[in-house]
């Protein structure tokens, strides 16, 4: 699992590569918390290079979503592969977290 960070239109874009499971969910959580700055009010996770996410990974997404909600910060996901999107749909997480087809669309939506 690798995370690379970029910014566009005041949106922090964290691109997640590889897989997130029980073994590295904690590492994923720490990496995201480290990447998201105090002043970031718009956070986008780009999942285009994510190959797998387990329920332990979903829990981290939920933790981050709650944290950002408390700060009134925007939070979204983009570019989910079909199997990953299915995980979000089955668990119902797509109802509480906004999901966009592409990075451009997401940045357009939540950016400045």
């Amino acid at each position: 699992m690798e995370i690379s960070v970029d910014r566009a239109n005041e949106v922090l874009i964290a691109k997640v590569e590889g897989r997130i499971d029980g073994a590295n969910a904690r590492e994923f959580e720490d990496a995201l918390n480290g990447a998201i700055g105090e002043d970031d009010s718009k956070v986008l996770l780009d999942f285009s290079a994510l190959s797998y996410i387990s329920s332990a990974g979903l829990r981290v997404i939920l933790l981050i979503a709650r944290l950002l909600q408390k700060r009134n910060a925007a939070f979204a996901l983009c570019s989910l592969s079909d199997p990953i999107r299915e995980v979000f749909e089955i668990s119902g997480f797509d109802k509480i977290i906004s999901i966009h087809d592409s990075q451009a669309e997401a940045v357009d939506k939540i950016g400045r």
């Binding site: 073994a23 939920l62 933790l63 709650r66 089955i90 119902g92």
Partner: protein, 387 residues
């Protein structure tokens, strides 16, 4: 320093050495760092070791009357396995040094004794011994933890039902294979008023002890709610509201809950973010149960849970499963997936619910091969009998 002095046993047949050692080490002895004991040969050394408990270190000469240092080395582990031994040998006596090291000596110094070197060697030896003791303590703690986990695992397994309804109308079977000692999956099957049967399958985010604790409370809440309310959507709503009340850790549990009427085959269900169950028909074809617009429990308070219904025809099999089945991976990183699950029954519709579960577990294990199981695998199966 307030700790008890390290006890060092010095074994040498030269009578002058005791005097010399006491003189050279007197500051360390007086400050309470070391206590020195002396013996003149291996036999005396063994006697000392038996008399004085907790000797930390032995410093021994090799050539001595009655019992030499190499023989002593071989004897020490029988009396005190954790003791560190350092041998004193003639300069260049590689053969004896090798033998001593092979018999478990920690280090060696050469004669004539360089007391500066001796002091460093003693410090290093005792430090190593301290670390060794700490490692042993950690290991003991781990063993204790492991034992507690085993108890927790047994408790967890013991709350899962092992006896299932078996009547003219239906047959039910369920089982779970946890990936670790304590898991996050659970299922429940219990009777409701009017001859109906409650069916539940659930999967807590993550595994291990936190998941197991969350699983225990989810299971208790679900059973309590199921007995009070009859509509599956209302049951999940109540459990969700209770679980979200205090959930700082953001744990959640995907839950499929159904009320099954064996007389009519009707299954009223609500799906809280769980994998869609499968209805396998007697010809081997199968269909997924449509969702009910649900969300995993524990995520968001106050949400409503929809519900839906399906009627099982005689010969139909309803299979509830967790993602440990569909997300089982093989060495190439491929997932078992829905297609393979449906294929299990396509050519070979099972005769009984237990056979159905066995067939699923077998297919998953064969697919995964040597790849270790990373998630709990659970199946609950209901067969609507041909009357």
């Amino acid at each position: 320093m307030t700790q008890t002095p390290y006890k060092i046993l010095v074994v040498d047949d030269e009578p002058d050495l005791e005097h010399l050692m006491r003189q050279r080490m007197r500051r360390d002895v007086r400050s309470g760092l070391y206590t020195l004991y002396f013996a003149q040969n291996g036999v005396e050394a063994l006697e000392r070791l038996n008399e004085v408990p907790d000797i930390d270190m032995v410093l021994s000469d090799i050539n001595m009357p009655r019992m030499d240092g190499l023989t002593l080395l071989a004897q020490i582990p029988n009396i005190a396995p954790d003791i560190r031994a350092v041998v004193v040998s003639a300069y260049g006596d590689m053969k004896n040094i090798r033998t001593a090291m092979n018999r478990g000596a920690f280090d060696f110094i050469t004669k004539p004794i360089d007391f500066q070197d001796l002091r460093v060697t003693i410090e290093r030896t005792l430090k190593n011994m301290e670390e060794w003791r700490e490692a042993l303590e950690s290991r003991d703690k781990l063993v204790r933890l492991q034992n507690e986990l085993n108890v927790a695992s047994k408790m967890q397994q013991s709350i899962l039902p092992t006896e299932f309804p078996d009547s003219d109308h239906c047959e039910i079977y369920a089982n779970m294979e946890p990936a670790r000692e304590v898991g996050g999956d659970f299922f429940d099957v219990f009777g409701l008023p009017g001859g109906k049967i409650a069916l539940a399958i659930a999967d807590v985010s993550d595994k291990g002890v936190p998941a197991a604790l969350f699983m225990m409370s989810s299971r208790t809440l679900l059973k309590g709610s199921a007995i009070g309310a009859i509509e599956p959507g209302a049951v999940l709503k109540e459990v969700n509201d209770l679980l979200t009340e205090e959930n700082e850790a953001a744990m959640f549990v995907t839950t499929f809950y159904a009320v099954y009427n064996p007389q009519t085959g009707q299954v009223d269900y609500s799906n809280g973010g769980h994998n869609p169950p499968l209805v396998v028909h007697s010809d081997g074809s199968s269909t997924l149960l449509p969702g009910t617009d649900g969300l995993a429990l524990g995520v968001f308070p106050g949400v409503n849970f929809g519900q839906s219904a399906v009627v099982l025809s005689p010969g139909d099999l309803l299979l509830l499963y967790t993602d440990g089945v569909t997300e089982a991976m093989n060495a190439d990183g491929e997932e078992f997936g829905m297609d393979r699950l449906q294929a299990v029954f396509a050519d070979d519709p099972p005769g009984s619910t237990e056979d159905a579960n066995k067939a699923v577990f077998k297919a998953v294990h064969e697919f995964a091969g040597e790849t270790p199981q990373s998630d709990d695998i659970t199946c609950v199966t209901v067969l609507q009998r041909q009357v």
